[in-house]
Point group: C2
Chain length 124, copies 2
């Protein structure tokens, strides 16, 4: 049974973050056990409020221009364990319990499943 | 002695990524040992080219509007170990060896050192 954490955040704390011109802030989502980075998506203030209130990740879909409660369609919900903001207050990091197959719509566990190039170790 | 990896990426692969209207793409940087997310910053195509070429993280500073070769001033360089792009080709993930005190200009190891609220575990 997955467990979410309801984080007690003031409305002031949510509005004090630095959103971009579209009112959005990037959110990085990381698995609480493997520490794998699962995805990066965007939130507006309302998505953030709902995420904290429900203990489940809610993003803003830029393509659909609507709130995107992760897992409502796929079943692969994300439950919040910890939440951080960065030194510039313009990026967010969520530690989550990922339900089901994974975060990516392709069926991969992480959206970052494709690596660049062929590695060539060099001394620096 | 830190070791960087020179990743063999074609110019086509760099230009085929989806940059925003400012020509930038978000880059997440993660520690190769602890898997801690160290920071999120932005790259343009030139920063990305240099990162791959030098095996060291090079970002685009939006505040200074210039290339930002991480660690040139602070000494806390970041050496590339692995590099990934996401399913939408609009976000990047770098696994790095972080030199020195850490990634953050405040002296913290990660820029995400501040947590939201007080946790309150709830059943979901």
């Amino acid at each position: 049974m997955p467990t979410g954490v309801r984080i007690d955040v003031s409305p002031e704390q949510i509005t004090s973050l630095r959103y971009n011109f579209d009112g959005l802030i990037p959110a990085i989502t990381q698995d609480h056990q493997t520490r794998e980075v699962l995805m990066m998506a965007w939130m507006n203030a309302e998505a953030l409020r709902r995420t904290f209130d429900e203990g489940r990740m809610v993003y803003w879909s830029r393509s659909r221009q609507e709130l995107w409660r992760k897992g409502d369609t796929s079943g692969d919900r994300q439950f919040v364990r910890e939440a951080y903001f960065d030194c510039d207050t313009d990026a967010l990091l969520f530690i989550v319990e990922q339900e089901g197959a994974g975060a990516c719509h392709t069926g991969e566990r992480s959206c970052f499943f494709r690596a660049f190039g062929t590695d060539d170790v060099v001394a620096v």
